[in-house]
């Protein structure tokens, strides 16, 4: 057959018509019993014992229930889930939970103490990213039926808050063992259940895993055998969608929730959808390295004070955009123990100049390193660094900007070799004890060259805060610790980037939760 020019011209139209003919009317329309959520995936596994990424928390929270949990956006109050609120011994080393006898897995079998022991030991022994949550924790059967006793080597009043993380969700031990799962010592080599858990879920939550595609979408189906209140949707599809398309998807009704919008996108969408812009739980902070071997300039306490006083915190908060907040110190605003903003450092150019003069350093020049290839909730570190450079210039400090890709930045940051940097800390669990790492001689403290013994007062308060179980006294101690940290430490908190999302008006308004972003099980259609 000879293809003529006319035929060539008609071919694309014919193809389009053929395709259109094959797609039945309404094929693109969405089923009302399906909820579609768009987010840019940060996802590596469907195995709770190995996950520690935001998207994994989002999609596994409805699948794997934990002993205790949080409700709504409140991360300060634990509520029962598979078990009751624990009884904590006065030494904060023993925690006794009682399982709810009604709890059962999606295959109908009851959730037992053995399942809890297996799940916790598996988290510890597969040596994955969340293993640290149970460092030094021993789990055993209690004296009564359904009782679980956790003991710790050191007093750890923050432990219950770690146990609400989906990574320590309870798995059906029989099912996981039958599919090459292991919780024994050496499970990092012998456990082979990860592939199975990417195809079949083994939890007790209101949803089961129907499809797990790390690149495209995760599909959850309602667990018909769920032991608690039934969720509203039969199916939830969580799609991996670039931030650029998420806003349009919600406005067209292609999805109902967009989780990764920038604050400036919310104006365009606010008539068509509910918008929410609240401080996220990450804290962006800067430090001047206290180790004189890294930089004698940065380690000078008066120079550090000059930097603290030179920064225009309100200006930086404006760069972070609407919804961002500034914590008074290192603990984010939504956690117990957060210091009010007005108790954080304030800008005072004259005092900064005086501190610089007192340091004895003439025309100081310092390298300011920042991550150049990623943003934090749409906020560019380059913009923040440029603003800081201008602020420091005003008091006579020259900051030389040094952009760095995140993969190399993390090595240098963790090695403690950066003289001055802007970096962030995402919470591992929603308890102020997570932030004691910023103390002298502790992990993050050492990254800023803050050696053990260099600030005895800060260390002393931290020791007391770490073991105090009375919540009111704990908050007082963390308050005092952060004030001391602000005054003596090399760290200065800058802001918490805003979490900005939009949800369709066909839904009831959705709440943000810093642990699992949103609670998919709580989303419901708008009341008529």
């Amino acid at each position: 057959m000879i293809i003529t020019r006319r035929m060539l011209g008609v071919l694309p139209i014919a193809m389009a018509a053929a395709v259109a003919g094959m797609v039945p009317a309404g094929a693109f329309a969405q089923d009302a019993s399906t909820l579609v959520v768009d987010t840019a995936f940060q996802l590596k596994t469907a195995d709770p014992a190995r996950e520690f990424e935001p998207t994994a928390n989002l999609v596994l929270h409805p699948v794997y229930e934990t002993l205790i949990t949080f409700k709504g956006s409140d991360l300060t109050t634990l509520v029962p889930s598979l078990a009751s609120i624990p009884v904590v011994a006065p030494d904060a080393k023993t925690f006794t939970f009682t399982l709810n006898p009604a709890a059962k897995f999606s295959d109908g079998s009851p959730v037992t103490v053995d399942d809890v022991i297996f799940s916790f030991n598996r988290v510890k022994n597969v040596k994955g990213s969340p293993s640290f949550l149970l460092d030094g924790v021993t789990v055993a059967k209690g004296a009564k039926d359904g009782e679980i006793v956790l003991t710790t080597e050191q007093p750890d009043p923050g432990l219950p808050y770690k146990l609400a993380n989906p990574a320590v969700g309870i798995v059906n031990s029989k099912l996981v063992k039958a599919n090459q799962g292991s919780a024994d010592e050496g499970a990092d080599k012998t456990d082979r259940a990860e592939a199975f858990l990417a195809s079949t879920s083994a939890g007790s939550g209101p949803y089961i895993l129907d499809k797990f595609d790390m690149a495209a979408e995760v599909v959850l189906k309602r667990n018909d055998a769920y032991w608690g209140a039934k969720p509203a949707y039969d199916q939830i599809v969580v799609r991996n969608v670039d931030t650029s398309a998420q806003q349009m998807n919600v406005m067209r009704g292609d999805s109902q929730i967009a989780l990764d919008l920038r604050p400036d996108q919310l104006d365009a969408i606010k008539d068509a959808a509910y918008t929410l812009s609240v401080p996220g739980a990450d804290v962006v902070f800067m430090f001047t390295n206290a180790n004189p071997e890294i930089s004698a300039t940065a380690a000078n306490p008066d120079f550090q004070q000059a930097v603290r006083l030179a920064i225009d915190y309100d200006g930086i908060l404006a760069i972070a955009g609407e919804g961002a907040a500034r914590p008074g110190s290192i603990i984010p605003t939504m956690f117990a123990g957060a210091l009010p903003t007005d108790q954080g450092p304030k800008r005072d150019v004259e005092a900064a100049k005086a501190a610089l003069a007192k340091s004895g350093i003439k025309d100081p020049v310092i390298e300011l390193t920042y991550v150049s290839d990623i943003t934090k909730n749409g906020v560019s570190f380059a913009d923040v660094a440029a603003k800081m450079q201008a602020d420091l210039k005003e008091v006579g400090i020259t900051a030389e900007l040094k952009p760095s890709p995140v993969s190399t930045f993390l090595d240098d940051y963790r090695a403690g070799t950066l003289p001055m940097t802007i970096v962030w800390w995402g919470p591992d669990y929603p308890d102020p004890s997570d932030y004691l790492l910023f103390g002298p001689g502790e992990k993050v403290g050492l990254r800023a060259g803050w050696k053990a013994g260099s600030a005895p007062e800060v260390t002393e308060i931290a020791k007391k805060a770490a073991v105090e179980i009375d919540q009111a006294k704990r908050i007082e101690l963390y308050d005092a610790w952060q004030k001391a940290l602000n005054a003596q430490g090399p760290f200065t908190s800058l802001f918490q980037p805003a979490f900005s999302m939009a949800s369709s008006k066909t839904l009831e308004p959705v709440e943000y939760n810093a642990m699992w972003t949103i609670d998919l099980t709580a989303i419901a259609p708008a009341k008529q």
């Binding site: 020019r5 395709v19 039945p24 969340p130 599909v219 993969s407």
Partner: protein, 350 residues
């Protein structure tokens, strides 16, 4: 020896050509493994920092387990030799980010990109050749001028921008294009045969799925095709102008053949050799350069996989992608040479 020599020369030219090229291709792939391995070693940054959480990366036991799992605890030369040994058995190692064999990842992501690139290539060839022929026929008149602007725009417009604008217009404003992804949200993929959804749906007779998969393909394929349309149009026009000035075309016209036959049979066919070269190169470029289109249209292909692997310093995945893309380049170039011989009788392979 002489027996082998005579047996070799007894083979048809084409077969000898293919065997020789495949042998050279294997050596090239070996070279590529060495280069990509060396690059992954010299790049600053530790995969431990990129793959483990902050706390886990500070735990020596977890770091040791991670290094042991991915063979990073062995000396570098031994790592490379182990890689080659596994490669011979078809094992590309395990991805640090997906924790699956790289071959499994490639089997999932590569077909999505091949499907997209092939659809884009077909579209680019149909449009590019048509526009190039029309431009050559109407040389220096208004169709030529219009097409010149179109092809210039095609090669000049940034793909990422074009992807966003087309998505905005056809999906958001007009509502005639489906949303992102290869299927509708939660849509069931057809039974896996090639992992190219349109082909699999066709083979299994799932017509609705075929329609949905094809409709999802239209917009990203068009965007991906636009750049190539520009270059194919320009090459076709130049090659056609050269053909049209040849004596045999004048002779065909003098014989009184219809203009359509003169253009399509006598002028276009010799011009196709140049077009095939451009198309071969463009296909390779499409396979390795789809990342931006895949990103905007949430197309889970090899471009996104490669990008995420690079960010996570996922060494085995980076090497796997490099190797597969290189192999495809080599195969496409070989196919181009064979097509040369088929469309131009003056070319002999051997």
């Amino acid at each position: 020896m002489s027996f082998l020599r005579s047996a070799w020369y007894a083979l048809p030219n084409l077969v000898r050509f293919v065997i020789r090229r495949l042998f050279v291709g294997v050596l090239l792939c070996l070279g590529i493994t060495l280069v990509s391995f060396a690059l992954t070693q010299v790049v600053p940054g530790d995969p431990v920092s990129a793959n483990l959480g902050d706390r886990a990366a500070s735990d020596p036991e977890i770091v040791a387990a991670f290094r042991a799992r991915y063979g990073l605890d062995k000396p570098v030369p031994q790592q490379y030799l182990l890689y080659l040994e596994r490669l011979v058995h078809g094992d590309l190692g395990e991805s640090q980010q997906t924790k699956r064999p790289v071959t499994t990842d490639l089997a999932q992501y590569l077909p999505a990109t091949i499907e997209l690139a092939t659809a884009a290539m077909i579209l680019a060839l149909v449009l590019g050749i048509s526009l190039g022929v029309v431009a050559a026929i109407g040389r220096d008149r208004w169709p030529d001028q219009v097409i010149r602007v179109i092809s210039l725009a095609g090669v000049s417009i940034p793909t990422f921008w074009l992807a966003l604008v087309t998505f905005y217009i056809f999906f958001f404003k007009l509502g005639i294009a489906p949303g992102v992804g290869r299927l509708n949200p939660g849509g069931k993929a057809p039974p896996s045969i090639t992992n190219m959804f349109t082909i699999d749906a066709l083979l299994s007779g799932q017509w609705t799925t075929l329609g949905i998969a094809a409709s999802h393909l239209v917009l990203p394929a068009t965007v991906l095709a636009i750049y190539t349309v520009g270059s194919i149009t320009r090459f076709t026009r130049a090659a056609m102008l050269e053909s049209l000035s040849q004596d045999y075309v004048r002779a065909a016209r003098a014989k009184g053949l219809p203009e359509r036959t003169v253009i399509l049979r006598h002028a276009l066919r010799p011009a196709l050799a140049a077009i095939v070269t451009v198309a071969g190169m463009a296909f390779g470029r499409m396979l390795s350069g789809t990342v931006l289109v895949e990103s905007v249209f949430s197309w889970p292909g090899i471009g996104q996989y490669a990008y995420k692997s690079a960010l996570a310093l996922d060494l085995r995945a980076i090497m796997g992608v490099s190797l597969v893309v290189a192999a495809i380049y080599i195969l496409v170039n070989m196919a181009v040479d064979i097509i040369y011989a088929l469309i131009d009788p003056r070319i002999r392979l051997g």
